[in-house]
């Protein structure tokens, strides 16, 4: 049996089993009405928690206003059902899908409207602004006629039941899982791991942040709709800041980034206060102590970022893998990621800067920089610390917007383009201080980089359409090939931050190459390496040029490396190019020697005198 199909069958049967057991127990009265309603509340809270986990766990942005979206969904759904049943004479049960969907959509619209401005902020400021928006939603609902003002609306047909809640919840969980395992989910995760690296690997950070935020709001809206039809009367005060915090606590206790963790935490934390009912006076006290102890002794939450896999347990119990080893896989259709063809003109540079410069306030960090990089060339960019080398890289990749001059890639200006667009155009880079997606595996790090070269939509990924499967198989193959070229295949499934230092640098280069660039920018690739690692790196860079047909521009302080592999070298000092030429020319250039060793006409002396004074 195919492994994917097997896992679908195992999970589907388990879900149905749980459903039939619970619904039989409820039907026969073994679970009384009171506990049945708690089960339904658990279902609703699972949806809320799992969706909040998308923003807080997967995207890594603290959101303190999730209950606001729930309230938008609850009121929208409640009002629609009431209207349709009262004035149009519709059957209440028939209204439910429409109201739920409408609630979800309106919540998503709110999420989008709030997300667009709010996500420009970072960290705690973002958290506070989501808190602010959540509270504003509450106050507005409390002051609107249609939502019944402060008293809210009541007599909403109570048509929600266990089956509806269970299957909606199951659907939301499945969607979260499949989304998380698609290229879109990987993009969201990579933003949590390292937003700068994600952008430089071709991911539009803003777009995916808004996507995750909107998506989470949609599900919160649906949960709100279920809630409205469960309780029958809603008031905006229910969905206040404390409610948002309640869900945040569930996410954190379950483990940020773990869907199964969220499910368990939502279940336990909904049930716990009910079980502690006989200690009514002490239950909130116990709850708060538990919260503190949990954080002190298990700060990553119950599950961390891990997931509980039923398939894995099943395989262990039945010893499936022993048998699987002998089965042969039949080849399946594969779509390879795009490998763009770059129109390189004979004799023209692939990358060229013309009078490039940038000014930060009063500081001219770079000025009149003219670089040319030809196809298949390895060019060095050297200069003393603070000369502006990384600034030039940041302009080339769209991290900084140059204030003067132009950058031409294959004859087209790329000034003003976003970083991720420049990646798609064919410029990839590495960083001075390594920026990997640390808790993702080596293989996943590379898969993220194929993002711009893939096409399937979020819907394709969520519903696992053939397009998704073909493209995913394609990048799986490509990523492994790439790792094989760099002798890193055995590390494919290790977390990236578990690699030794030299390997981490190599992985970063590997990831940059996965975006299929024409130009590769390496920012101090040998920094922190020992001589053996540096020698290996020199071989790697040579190998890249021979195999991948790229032009390489590298910043480096290790002169042995620069002189050993670069065909041409530019020397930057105080933001200006002071020399260029072959390694031999550069080595003998008096300007360069002066830049590195100081002036021979007393400049050094002056400095020494100053220091002597300071010491005295």
């Amino acid at each position: 049996m195919k492994s994917k199909l097997r896992s679908y069958i195992i999970n589907l049967s388990a879900t149905l089993l749980v459903y039939f057991v619970l619904s039989t127990l409820i039907g026969s009265g073994a679970i009384n009405k009171y506990y049945a309603s708690i089960l339904i509340m658990i279902g609703i809270n699972v949806i809320m928690t799992v969706s909040l986990n998308l923003t807080t766990g997967f995207l890594g942005e603290l959101a303190l206003g999730h209950a606001g979206f729930m309230s938008v969904g609850a009121f929208t759904a409640g009002i629609i059902t009431k209207q349709l049943t009262a004035s149009m004479g519709w059957d209440a049960a028939a209204c439910l899908p429409i109201s739920l969907l409408a609630g979800g959509i309106l919540a998503a619209v709110m999420g989008f409207l709030i997300g667009v401005p709010a996500l420009r902020l970072k960290g705690d400021y973002l958290a506070i602004i989501t808190l602010g928006f959540g509270e504003i939603i509450r106050v507005i609902i409390q002051n609107m006629q249609i939502t019944g003002g402060a008293s809210g609306i009541s007599r909403i047909p109570r048509i929600n039941n266990f089956s509806i809640t269970f299957f909606v919840m199951a659907a939301v969980i499945v969607v979260m899982f499949t989304l998380g395992r698609s290229r879109h989910g990987r993009a969201i995760l990579s933003i949590r791991e390292n937003a700068v690296a994600a952008e430089s690997t071709g991911i539009s950070v803003t777009r995916y942040k808004i996507f995750a935020f909107t998506f989470a709001a949609f599900f919160a809206g649906i949960a709100g709709g279920l809630y409205a039809h469960q309780i029958g009367r809603i008031s905006a005060a229910t969905f206040d800041f404390n409610k948002s915090i309640e869900y945040l606590v569930m996410v954190v206790l379950g483990g940020m980034g773990s869907i199964t963790g969220s499910i368990i935490a939502a279940g336990v934390l909904t049930l716990l206060p009910e079980l502690l009912r006989q200690f009514a006076d002490y239950r909130m006290l116990l709850y708060s102590i538990m919260l503190i102890l949990m954080m002190l002794f298990r700060p990553k939450g119950l599950m961390g970022t891990a997931e509980f896999s039923l398939t894995f347990v099943w395989d262990r119990l039945t010893g499936f893998y022993k048998r699987a080893a002998s089965s042969k896989a039949t080849p399946k259709p594969v779509t390879m990621p795009d490998s763009p063809t770059y129109a390189v003109k004979e004799g023209a540079p692939v990358l060229e800067t013309r009078n490039l410069g940038i000014r930060f306030g009063g500081l001219q960090a770079a000025e009149g920089v003219n670089l040319q990089l030809f196809d298949n060339e390895i060019v060095g960019l050297i200069g003393p610390n603070g000369a502006g080398k990384t600034t030039v890289f940041n302009m080339l990749t769209g991290v900084y917007l140059p204030t003067e001059g132009d950058i031409q890639l294959l004859g087209q200006s790329i000034v003003g383009k976003k970083t991720y667009e420049i990646v798609a155009d064919g410029v990839a880079r590495t960083f001075q201080n390594i920026r990997l997606f640390k808790s993702m595996t080596v293989l996943e790090n590379i898969k993220v980089a194929f993002h711009t070269r893939m096409h399937y939509s979020p819907a394709s990924g969520i519903f696992r359409l053939p397009k998704y499967a073909r493209e995913e198989r394609g990048i799986e193959q490509r990523a492994r090939e790439l790792l094989r070229v760099f002798n890193m295949e055995e590390s494919a499934d290790l977390p990236a931050d578990g690699l030794p230092y030299g390997q981490q640098r190599k992985l970063e280069i590997c990831r940059a190459l996965a975006t299929s660039p024409k130009v590769l920018l390496l920012d101090e690739p040998a920094a922190g390496m020992n001589p053996i690692e540096t020698r290996e790196l020199m071989e790697t860079i040579g190998l890249i040029r021979n195999r991948f047909s790229v032009a390489i521009l590298l910043i480096e302080h290790d002169m042995k490396l620069v002189m050993g592999i670069c065909e041409r070298i530019y020397v930057l000092n105080y933001g200006r190019i002071i020399a260029q030429g072959t390694p031999t020319e550069i080595r003998n250039n008096p300007e360069v020697i002066r830049a590195y060793l100081g002036h021979s006409d007393g400049g050094v002396k002056k400095g020494e005198e100053g220091e002597a004074h300071g010491n005295a």
Binding site: D124, Y125, I128, G132, I136, N394
Partner: protein
């Protein structure tokens, strides 16, 4: 016009209390980057201490003030040592959740000890309001504003000039480097919490004089508002907290007087959002770009 000035003065009074609590928030955030959600509840602890001392033990007002500041300091420092210190290296969201836990713990303990029913706060000053051409300024408001401005100036001087203040600024920039320079980091953080909580103790008194009723959840709302005030002014910056507090108080009071009572919260949050969108690190904050 008279109504306007009366509302303005009321707003300044409330704003001064927000500002005092915000100072504590901002100091703690500045040094350990923790949104100390329990800060408002420390104020509640101070208020109960004051009631117990003045009503049950019958001590005089200045002694009660000292006593409640002391209890706030003890609570604040103990909470930091027990609940926050072990999580200094953990992701920041963990200490945030712990702070929420501490806040619940304080509220629920108070509820067990004193029941949920509010207790009246005894009158402290019986000075008639000063009237100036129809505008009346209550003595309490005057004291509140003066006290909080003086405290802010004093605190700012302390942080900018004293040895301990310098240590605080160093720890807030870089804990590791501060340690290497011989600064006792744990001590410095404790002192910061102590000062913040002492201010909360004073804030508790001023708050209770203005709104003479003490309840277990009384700290939550002013705590949240004070925090927003701190963010509005630029979190980690002392004059910012004061500015934010006054803006919030005045905006709230003017909305209540001229627009609608219910919308006052929306206006406050609206101001916060607009300010953050145009100045992402608050009114007096400086933007820090991530170095690539």
């Amino acid at each position: 016009m008279v109504l306007f000035f009366n509302q303005l003065i009321n707003g300044l009074g409330t704003g001064a209390i927000y500002a005092l609590i915000a100072l504590g928030y901002t100091m703690v955030y500045g040094i350990v980057k923790l949104i100390n959600f329990a800060h408002g509840d420390i104020m509640m602890v101070g208020s109960y201490t004051a009631v117990l001392l003045m009503v049950n033990a019958g001590v005089s007002f200045p002694v009660a003030l000292m006593g409640s500041m002391l209890i706030c300091v003890v609570f604040g420092v103990a909470i930091e040592r027990v609940a926050y210190k072990p999580l200094r290296e953990a992701p920041r969201i963990c200490s945030l959740i712990t702070a929420i836990g501490v806040s619940y713990l304080l509220q629920n303990s108070a509820q067990l000890l004193f029941s949920a029913n509010p207790r009246p706060f005894p009158p402290v000053f019986s000075v008639p309001p000063i009237t100036l051409g129809g505008i009346s300024i209550s003595f309490v408001t005057l004291v509140t504003v003066v006290v909080s401005v003086l405290l802010m100036i004093g605190l700012n001087l302390f942080v900018m000039t004293s040895r301990t203040g310098k240590a605080m600024r160093a720890v807030s920039e870089d804990i590791g480097a501060a340690k290497l320079m011989g600064i006792n980091v744990n001590m410095t953080i404790s002192v910061t919490f102590a000062i913040g909580c002492a201010l909360a103790g004073i804030g508790a008194f001023l708050y209770c004089i203005a709104y003479p009723s003490v309840a277990p959840t009384m700290g939550a709302m002013p705590g949240l508002k004070a925090f927003i005030a701190a963010v509005l002014g630029g979190i980690g910056i002392l004059p910012g907290a004061m500015l934010g507090g006054f803006i919030m108080g005045v905006a709230e009071s003017l909305t209540k007087g001229f627009v609608s009572t219910q919308l006052s919260d929306a206006v406050v949050y609206g101001i916060l959002i607009i300010v953050l969108l145009f100045k992402p690190s608050g009114m007096l904050g400086r933007v820090q770009r991530e170095k690539v």
